[in-house]
């Protein structure tokens, strides 16, 4: 299943903050920041169970992350990825001349990839080194 016309936001979560202080190469970091949170009603349309990998695609890239239902909703039409390596694969690098990329408000689409493997931070960023 897939969903189109979503808006992607990124930002701090306390779990992501704790995980980054505990080691960025850990599974804890993947569980904290390699995720995409959905509005409850939007998630039903995906027809999968929470934790199923999903591919998030924007005009700026794509990334595979674990799906989850938001505790900070309702926010229909909005998805959220915590700040960090996963979110930054799909954010808008345009700074509008002020130096700060547009980390929030990208148009996004999501598709379920049931057998997908979510990379850890080092593997994910390593792909940029290889590229």
């Amino acid at each position: 299943m897939s969903l189109n016309n979503l808006i992607l936001l990124t930002g701090r979560t306390i779990n992501q903050g704790v995980a980054l202080e505990g080691g960025k190469n850990t599974k804890e970091n993947v569980r904290a920041a390699g995720i995409c949170t959905f509005d409850k009603e939007d998630f039903k349309k995906l027809d999968c169970i929470a934790g199923t990998p999903v591919k998030v695609t924007t005009d700026y890239g794509e990334v595979l992350v674990y799906s989850t239902i938001t505790e900070e909703g309702p926010h229909p039409g909005i998805i959220f990825i915590p700040m960090g390596p996963w979110g930054n694969q799909v954010v808008n690098p345009d700074t509008q001349g002020c130096g700060t990329p547009t980390f929030k408000g990208m148009k996004a689409k999501v598709e379920v990839v049931k057998d997908g493997r979510v990379l850890d931070a080092i593997e994910l960023i390593g792909k940029l080194k290889e590229a």
Partner: protein, 440 residues
């Protein structure tokens, strides 16, 4: 079995977020943090992460044939100096999670190398600095808000997650001199596209559409001036709700807007903050109103202060002509990296590989990287030289500026392990090495 002697340190500052809590109690035994009191989840984890672990660098490292090997300080500094001196457009980036004394040496090094100098404000509150330069800002210290504010607005900011003790120390639950009943004496408003955990404990939540904060702020300004807008809603917020909010704003005794990345990292960036400042200024025709940016890193405000008093500019500074030039958008790290202008990077206390957009990281990785970084991070793992630092505020002293620009002294509670040195000393030795190689 002998009991380890526990030493308790009181009134320790937390080197994590801009709230810079100064009431932590840290128990240390055998040079390891064993217990924390008063700190939030993230602060606690930061102190514990200074203990020996598999992901901490204890000796300088040099990458050879794709893998790291231990090196002496002299070897590692020699290699780092070579990289910086060979580069035509080196970038010195980070600085927000270290002490002011180290930042000061970083400025000197950047000027000597004719490098680009930037701090993490570049990707967070840089737009706030631009807006403040444009229109000024009615700011205050956090103590004033704690003691006086009866209306607190969090706009595009989620302190429950990003500044976990802000609410209990300054803005919500805390008892103030004129707010003796704490939470009951304050009206909390949250404006955010998501009903965040902060919004869930607010008295009024306003759900703004993503990227439309600018329109909503201006609609509030218009209604405040008595303009009747020909619209049923603005940015997804019904006009009735906007009018209700304006009445609440006008009636308070002392209001404050704490704003975060929701304004600076959305479309319009500094113009959003510019308008929020103008709204705050205009509210002072009716009552007392101030605002304050919710700074992220514990000493990003200090980086802006130190850079400003030494170069005249807060971030995004280009020394290529031998003197500092300032132009965010041109000399800011992400813009430079997206254009692939940078040919070597020195990272101080930061992890841009995790926090920059992918395109910028891809270009950064094409060129040598030197990382002054205590832990394995996506930046340090792909760096060429690692210079292992002591944790500022845990393993060495220094000065840090709270989000309201109040300077506080960081404490040392334990010794740095093995060969780790304070950031300041690493940068001083690197500067010395660079000068030595140039025969100066």
């Amino acid at each position: 079995m002998s009991q380890k002697k526990i030493i308790t340190h009181h009134d320790v500052l937390c080197p994590f977020c801009g709230t810079l809590c100064d009431d932590l109690e840290v128990d240390v035994a055998d040079n390891e943090v064993v217990e924390m009191r008063n700190s939030c989840q993230i602060g606690t984890k930061k102190f514990f992460s200074s203990n020996p672990s598999g992901h901490r660098y204890l000796k300088p490292q040099i990458k050879e044939k794709g893998s790291f090997r231990d090196a002496t300080w002299d070897e590692a500094l020699d290699k780092a100096a070579d990289i910086l001196l060979k580069a035509k457009r080196p970038l010195l980036y980070g600085f927000s999670s270290t002490e002011c004394e180290a930042q000061n040496v970083g400025v000197e090094l950047a000027e000597y190398l004719r490098a680009i100098l930037d701090n993490t404000a570049s990707v967070c509150h840089g737009p706030s600095l631009l807006a403040i330069q444009d229109v000024g800002a009615p700011l205050s210290t956090l103590g004033e808000y704690k003691n006086r504010a009866d209306l607190v607005i969090f706009w595009g900011s989620n302190p429950v997650h990003a500044h976990p003790r802000h609410l209990s120390r300054y803005s919500d639950y805390v008892r103030g001199y004129f707010r003796k009943d704490g939470r009951n004496d304050r009206f909390i408003v949250v404006v955010d596209p998501r009903k965040t955990h902060t919004a869930q404990i607010a008295d009024l939540y306003i759900q703004v559409k993503p990227n439309e904060d600018y329109e909503l702020l201006n609609a509030i300004r218009a209604v405040l001036r008595g303009v009747e807008l020909d619209a049923k809603e603005v940015s997804g917020v019904p006009m009735e709700e906007i009018k209700k909010l304006v009445e609440i704003l006008k009636k308070c005794h002392f209001g404050v807007i704490f704003f975060g990345m929701g304004l600076t990292q959305s479309v319009s960036h500094h113009r959003n903050v510019d308008t929020a400042i103008c709204l705050t200024r205009e509210l002072n025709d009716h009552t007392k109103f101030l605002l304050t940016p919710m700074r992220g890193h514990y000493n990003v405000a200090g980086a802006n202060q130190v850079f400003t008093w030494t170069t005249g500019y807060a971030y995004s500074i280009d020394f290529s002509r031998g003197y500092g030039r300032y132009n965010p958008g041109e000399f800011s790290s992400v813009d430079l990296l997206m254009k692939d202008e940078v040919d070597a990077t020195l990272i101080v206390a930061s992890d841009p590989a995790s926090n920059f957009p992918a395109g910028a990281v891809r270009n950064m990785f094409k060129h040598p990287i030197i990382a002054i970084e205590p832990h394995h991070t996506p930046t340090s793992v792909y760096a060429d030289v690692i210079l292992p630092p002591a944790f500022a505020g845990i393993e060495c002293e220094g000065t840090a500026y709270r989000m309201d620009k109040v300077p506080l002294r960081l404490r040392k509670v334990k010794e740095a392990p093995e060969e780790c040195l304070p950031d300041r000393e690493i940068l001083e030795r690197l500067l010395e090495k660079v000068k030595e190689k140039e025969g100066k």
